[in-house]
Amino acid sequence: MSVLELEHVSKCYGRLSEQVALRDVSLRVEAGEMVVVWGMRRSGRSTLLRIAAGIEQPDSGVVRFDGHDLGKRHGETLGDGIGYCRKRFTPSEGQLVIDQMITGLIARGVPPSQAGSRARAALERAEIGSCAQLRPAELDSAEAVRAAIARALAFAPRLLLIDEPTIGVDLLARDGVLMLLHSLAQQGMAILASTGESTSLSGARALTLSEGELHGQPTRELAPVVPLRRTG
C-alpha cells in the first residue's frame, strides 16, 4: 500500500472553474521514496501539495493517505502522519526558534512536559540543533528551510510535503538541504516536494506539472535508484 495515492484528481479555480490547477492527476508515493514535481509558476504544483496534505479538497478524484480517503478525515490528518512545510519558517516577533517549535507542539495538543524534548530532537534531526536559541530572523536561508522541516518533523510524519525546499537557499548550501531530505527518505519517510528549480530533482523520482497535467512516472516502477554520495 502506498503512503500517498492520488487517483484522477482534478481541481479548478475561478467563478466558472476556468483556471485548471490539476487535471486528472494520478500519483503514488511510497515509504522511503522522494518524489519531486517540477513546474513553472501557476503550473499547479502548490495546489498538488495542498491537496495531498488534505488542506484543500479536489473537485474530483480521490486522495488516500495510508489507504484512507483524506476527503473523509476533514483535515485532521495534518500533524498526525502528514507534515506540510510551507516555503519558509515564518518568524513570530520576539520568540526563539525553540520557543516557536514548543508553542506549535503545545497548540497541537502535545503535553508541555514533552514539547521541549520533542522540539530539540526535531531540530537535531534537521541538523540545526545549534540554532535553537536563535531568533528566526537570524537564520540564514538554508537554516530557515531546515527549521521549517524540523517543525514538521516534531510531529513524526510518515509523509512529508514540502513546497520549494531550495528556493532562495545559497548555491553551496542547497545540496545540504537536499541531502537532509534524501536521508529522511532513506529512514523510511515518504517525501513529496514541489519545485521550480531543476536542481532539486537530483536523486529523486522526477515529475513535471504543465497546465495541471502530470508528466513522468506516476509510480515508482522504472524510476532510477540513485545512491547518495559525499565528495570533498
Binding site: V36, W38, G39, M40, S43, L172, D175, G176, L178, M179, H182, E197, S198, T199, L201, S202, G203, A204, R205, A206, L207, T208, S210, E211, H215, G216, Q217, A223, P224, V226, P227, L228, R229, R230, T231, G232
Partner: protein, 203 residues
C-alpha cells in the same frame, strides 16, 4: 587499378583534426596528472564512467601514440627504466592549448545540436500529435537524467580533491542544463497542443 601510394602511418595520424572523444579525454587526464599507459586506462574508467568507454585497455597505447605524434604529449625522460618500463607522459603546451580549443568547440557543437533539434521538431507543425509524442519522450528522458544526477554534499571526505571537484561540476552542469530544458519542453508542449486544438495555425 593503380596501387595506393604508401602513406607513413605516423604522418597520417598527425593530419586533420583529431575527432576521437576518447583521445581528447585521455589528453585531458594527462593534463590533469602525468601518467603511464595502464594507470591512464584505470583513471579513464573512473573519470568517464557512463560518459565514454574504452574498447580495451590496449587502446590507450594506440591513443598515446597518436597524441605523441601530434605533439600534444611527450614522454618524461628517465621514466622508461626497469625490467618492465612504464614510460610516463605529460602534456605539452600545444596539447593544453588544443584541449582548451576542443572544449569550446564541443560546447558550440552542443548549441548547434540543440538548435537542430528544435528546428527538426518543427517539421511536425501539420501533425502536432507526432511532435507531442517526441516531446513526451524527450521530457521523460530529461526527468530520468535529472533524477539520476546524484546529490553531492559539499564538505564530505574525499581522498582525491580533483575527483570531488569534477563530480560536483558535472553534477551541477547536468542539473542546470535541465533547468533550461524543462521550461523549453513546457513551452514546446503548449505550442503543439495549441496547434493540435486548432487554436493557432502553423505559419
Amino acid at each position: 587499378m593503380s596501387a595506393r601510394p604508401a602513406v607513413d602511418k605516423r604522418t597520417r595520424k598527425g593530419a586533420g583534426t583529431m575527432q576521437s572523444a576518447v583521445h581528447w579525454a585521455l589528453l585531458g587526464l594527462v593534463i590533469e596528472r602525468p601518467s603511464y599507459g595502464y594507470e591512464l586506462a584505470h583513471r579513464f574508467e573512473q573519470a568517464y564512467d557512463g560518459m565514454l568507454q574504452l574498447s580495451g585497455f590496449s587502446y590507450v597505447y594506440t591513443a598515446l601514440d597518436t597524441l605523441q605524434c601530434r605533439g600534444m604529449i611527450e614522454e618524461i625522460s628517465g621514466t622508461r627504466t626497469g625490467r618492465q618500463p612504464k614510460p610516463r607522459y605529460r602534456a605539452t603546451a600545444e596539447g593544453v592549448r588544443s584541449y582548451q580549443e576542443r572544449l569550446i568547440t564541443q560546447m558550440r557543437e552542443d548549441f548547434r545540436r540543440s538548435r537542430l533539434f528544435a528546428r527538426q521538431l518543427a517539421v511536425f507543425a501539420q501533425e502536432p500529435e507526432m511532435a507531442l509524442d517526441v516531446i513526451e519522450r524527450y521530457g521523460q528522458a530529461c526527468l530520468e537524467e535529472a533524477g539520476d544526477t546524484p546529490v553531492l554534499a559539499p564538505g564530505g571526505a574525499c581522498a582525491d580533491p580533483v575527483s570531488g571537484l569534477a563530480a560536483r561540476l558535472v553534477s551541477e552542469e547536468r542539473r542546470l542544463a535541465m533547468g533550461a530544458r524543462l521550461p523549453w519542453i513546457d513551452y514546446a508542449r503548449r505550442e503543439f497542443k495549441a496547434l493540435a486544438a486548432g487554436r493557432i495555425q502553423p505559419r
